[in-house]
């Protein structure tokens, strides 16, 4: 009876009337002769959970430290709420940071750590107590209020650091590799906890991470960085499904890349000739000039492996199984095409292993649709 309304999607970056909270305009940062950030433009909106993702040394930490005020841009302007924050020292910014090392004050108890920033604002003592209690409740640390940082576990320390940086209700919270020190299980739990807290407090979060899974899990948008530049900014799904370059495709998840020459193959399609005598790959793509050198990127899970070609899928290629990685729920097939190209495909193990029709060294068919991969010119 009740008709489901289309869900209200959070996408302020698509709304032309929305004013970004943070704007980077042509920001460059140099350390001596080394350029850490290279004329970068970026908008981050209110209530976003924004991830800066990249390998170490790509400039993501420098970008964050400029927001916190520990570094000043060599050129360009950073505004928060339309205020140029360039000349504002870190202690005057409406920004708080959660440090990679947590940086908890070892000589103070958990509650004093959380109250540290509040005591330096104009709050009355009662307000401070109330706020600390609220933060302790939010991060489920009530029982540990009077302990010192060395008397609690790693996960609890992480929550103290979070509570401390959220206590002053900053407009913007910066998180520097916040979960790097936690073990895998705890990290996954904490990711969801972070998202929950972000939603509850409505604070804008900017997270720096080199862990693509983490960025994909928590973020509303991800900026992939390389050598001081932003390569792509998009939603996790956008980054994964439609990477704009080989770099992004390769950085996020597993991918097969095949290089070839493109030629038009009808409306919105190109055929990619990648090896002498091989059937060209047909893929959906626009505006690719004839003869352009392209890279075709396709995720392993988008490929179907079978003893027969799949008639519903345009692309059908023969391959030989070199190796099978059995992961329980899925298996990864390492394959070799007749031209010698290495390929990997991933299939859900829907059937019992014993009933699988192919094994090592078998000749199989790989099939995928026209829209399964992306054609990249960079």
């Amino acid at each position: 009876m009740a008709q489901s309304k289309p869900q209200n999607v959070f996408a302020p970056w698509d709304d032309p009337n929305e004013v970004p909270l943070i704007r980077f305009r042509n920001v460059t940062k140099r350390f001596g002769t080394f350029t850490a950030i290279d004329s970068l433009d970026l908008d981050i909106y209110r209530k976003e959970f924004f991830a800066l993702l990249g390998p170490s040394g790509c400039g993501k930490t420098t970008l964050m430290r400029m927001l916190a005020g520990f570094e000043t841009p060599s050129e360009g302007k950073i505004t928060v709420d339309d205020v140029d924050v360039g000349p504002i020292p870190p202690n005057k910014r409406p920004v708080n940071m959660m440090f990679q090392s947590y940086a908890l004050f070892p000589h103070l108890t958990v509650e004093d750590n959380i109250a540290f920033g509040l005591k330096r604002s104009k709050m009355s003592r009662d307000e401070i107590t109330a706020r600390v209690t609220e933060m302790l409740r939010l991060t489920r640390l009530e029982k540990f209020a009077r302990r010192k940082p060395h008397q609690i576990s790693g996960g609890q320390r992480q929550r103290v650091a979070l509570a401390r940086s959220l206590a002053k209700a900053p407009k913007l919270l910066l998180l520097d590799e916040p979960l790097g020190a936690l073990d895998r299980k705890l990290r996954e739990d904490t990711q969801f906890e972070l998202m929950d807290i972000q939603e509850k407090t409505g604070t804008t979060f900017v997270i720096v991470t080199h862990d693509q899974e983490e960025a994909m899990t928590v973020a509303s948008r991800v900026a992939v960085m390389d050598h001081g530049r932003i390569v792509q900014v998009d939603t996790p799904a956008g980054i994964y499904e439609t990477p704009n370059s080989v770099y992004v495709a390769d950085f996020i998840g597993d991918v097969n890349i095949i290089e070839g020459n493109a030629s038009p193959a009808g409306e919105g399609r190109v055929s990619i000739h990648y090896a002498e005598g091989a059937q060209p790959i047909i893929a959906a793509a626009d505006h690719i000039p004839d003869g352009q050198r392209v890279s075709f990127a396709i995720r392993p899970e988008k490929i179907v492996v079978g003893t027969e070609p799949d008639p519903d899928r345009t692309n059908q290629v023969r391959g030989r199984i070199v190796d099978i990685g059995y992961l329980g729920n899925v298996s990864t097939y390492h394959l070799e095409l007749p031209g010698g190209q290495k390929f990997s495909a991933q299939m859900t193990n829907a059937r019992r292993l014993a009933r699988r029709d192919f094994t090592w060294d078998d000749e199989v068919w790989l099939s995928w649709t026209e829209t399964a991969g992306v054609v990249l010119t960079e």
Binding site: N91, F99, Y102, G117
Partner: protein, 272 residues
Amino acid sequence: MNRRLSWFNVTTLSLGFAFLYLPMLILIIYSFNASKLVTVWAGFSTQWYVSLMGNQQFLDAAWVTLRVAFFSSTLATVLGTMAAYVLVRAGRFPGRTLFSGMIYAPLVMPDVITGLSLLLLFIAINLDRGIFTIVLAHTTFSMCYVSVVVSSRLMTFDRSLEEAALDLGCTPFDAFRSVTLPIITPAVISGWLLAFTLSLDDLVIASFTAGPSSTTLPIRIFSSVRLGVSPEINALSTIMISIVAVGVVSASLVSKRAIIRQRQEELAGVRA
């Protein structure tokens, strides 16, 4: 596991320690000698300690020495800590190498030269020599020791703690006072104790910079020994040895214990 020391090790150790401490041990033993003759043992007595208490000259000198040691070590601690902070924190500023070299130079400078140059300075600026000048002189040479102790602590100090304090609204000075200082306190205390001990037993620099009314204990002892060693001196030296020993031992205990403990706490705060 073989925890017992071999005969060779035992011999080496005892010879080494004998070389270091036998003279002091003999001095301590003879301070309890009943005889007035230093080299003849005539039974146990504490009479020289009693007569020392009645020796106004020595008591005055001891009081001067304590005051000088207290003020100079305090001043040296403040300046040495500031210097260490600048050296470790300020990064590469022009002249940093020169600055650090100049701070550590007094460590290897002969006392005679330090003393003489200070004497010349005080004469040049027409400063009357007295307790104040000794304090200045002792501050000069003991400050580098404080600076060495404190800077070695600061080097292992996680910088992000200070950044966190700034981030939470502290001014740089407030961050130093409420975060850095409490954490490096053990190193500062052991630096102070070291400076105190150094000032206590300095003879050379003090004799250059002392005035007629400000004779320190080492000067007093040295001048009276020239007239012959009295057993009172032995008693006095024993007391000084104890004070210095207590100072050095507690300095190392304070720094070792607290630094180990704080290191653990800090590691805990830093790494999960």
